[in-house]
């Protein structure tokens, strides 16, 4: 299986150098060939998928307000901030 590496890198928000694209494609192809072993298993269409190892139920609790005063603490190690906010580069382009 060949991975559409540029498209996947874009989906994953990762920039890859052309060399990385080359080596990763090759390595991942090899890994996927190994993964495709599972296609040899017959009757999988009748098997239910498992997403959680042990049976568990949703946990509910009262929605209570706690003042943990963490805003300052949390912002302490932010790469960039403005007052009580995380600061990020422009999201919407001016001419759009």
């Amino acid at each position: 299986m060949k991975i559409p590496i540029q498209k996947i890198a874009e989906l994953a928000n990762i920039r890859l150098t052309p060399e990385e694209e080359g080596t990763l494609s090759k390595e991942l192809e090899k890994i996927l060939t190994h993964v495709e072993e599972i296609n040899k298993l017959p009757g999988l269409d009748k098997v239910e998928p498992t997403s959680h190892p042990l049976a568990s139920e949703n946990v509910y609790r009262e929605d209570t307000v706690l003042d943990q005063g963490t805003a300052k603490e949390v912002l302490k190690h932010a790469p960039d901030k403005h007052g009580n906010y995380f600061k990020v580069p422009k999201v919407i382009d001016g001419n759009q």
Binding site: H34, I38, P49, P53, V74, H77, P79
Partner: protein
Amino acid sequence: MWTIEEAVLRAKKEGSSALRAELETRVQALDPKVGAYLNTDPLVPSPEPLRSAPFYGLPISLKDNICVKDWETTCSSEILLGHIPPYDATVVEKLKKNGAYIFRKCDMDEFAFGSSSENSAFNLKSSRLKKKFKTGPVSNPWDLTCVPGGSSGGSAACVAAQEAVCALGSDTGGSIRQPAALSGIVGLKPTYGRVSRYGLIAFGSSLDQIGPLTHTVKDAALLLELIAGHDPKDSTSINVPVPRYSRELEGGVKGLRIGIPEEYFVPGLDPEVKEKVLQAAEQFKKLGAQVRSIRLPHTKYAVPVYYVVATAEASSNLARFDGVEYGIRAAGDNLSDMYRNTREKGFGTEAKRRIILGTFVLSSGYYDAYYLKAQKVRTLFKQDHERAFQEADLILGPTSPTTAFKAGAKTADPLSMYLSDIYTISANLTGLPAISVPCGFDSKGLPIGLQLTAKAFEESLLLRAAHTYEQSTDFHTKRPKI
């Protein structure tokens, strides 16, 4: 070597600082060779613990993916440099409450991605990072040219080198048990849900568990009873009572049914490892257990299934590292540029590899062929184990197919590295508890680990069997000369 009880006894007699100073001396002398620890310190020294607390003065070494308040926590990744958690992980809170303190933080494979600890971002001669961190990889204390295993390699190496009394690691596909085996110590992965993961930086959320790496099985039992239990802050932690594991170790293994999966003894398993593991099975027979052959027919699909499920979950969990809230940021003209530049700079090769693979198996058009199929085979694993546990109380096998390999031996071939997890992955896919205990040495003097697996929440039985075996051998008393 200090056991937990000896360390606490000593701290209670002499105060906690004498033991700490002695450990510190060992670290200064040995860690330049072993490289188990990161050179980070807490911003604020922890307050002197209560002398009346049961584990007063017990030093704990911690894998660097477990958050400690005011102590830089990096997952050995450049992307988290400068990340100083404003809170303690629940396990850390419990340890502190009981009088223990965090001694140092341990190196690991970046984001726990790896089986050799070579994927640490600090295993580089990069001038940007070397001022602050060590520049060498973690080495195996039994042979410094070999890897300690991974991803909790720092946690395993510091205990093996006696630069620590005990350590905590995390296990997603064998990351506690495999380095414990390769470093000649005890490593326990508890049942999924047994220990709170609040404050553990997530890798594979349906697989991750925190657990102890220790000199003895009794120490593993003591640490587990300290950290286990339900936590309202982790909705996957399960509310079942926590036994006093350390008081349930005696009683032996007479009549216990121990199953050996036929599928574990296949080509790829080192003959010396095989021999020692089968000798351990003989030892269990002598101790009164019934040893029988069992089947786990889907074993050969463990690695393929794991590397689909684990990378899918990792790609999703690692989406949060984008340069906005913590860690590093690389400049960009707009938000999306900034994300991409930050992630390009911050993630190492293995992290990128797994994020790409995980994103691929979840992407539209491939989800059914890979992710959904892997989840179905995961169901077959669970059924295999349910059937096996009708015939056996415990499953016995090797922890790792080989002893410690040379540094650099598998870095060029990711698949060969992935295959070293073949025996440990099943316990994560099924959520079952499993332990690795020393069962001998190969002809090069490298340690071999025996893995035992029990039914969910049967850690008492697991620890009792492991303790009974350990006490009938002397492998756990051997220490490396460094």
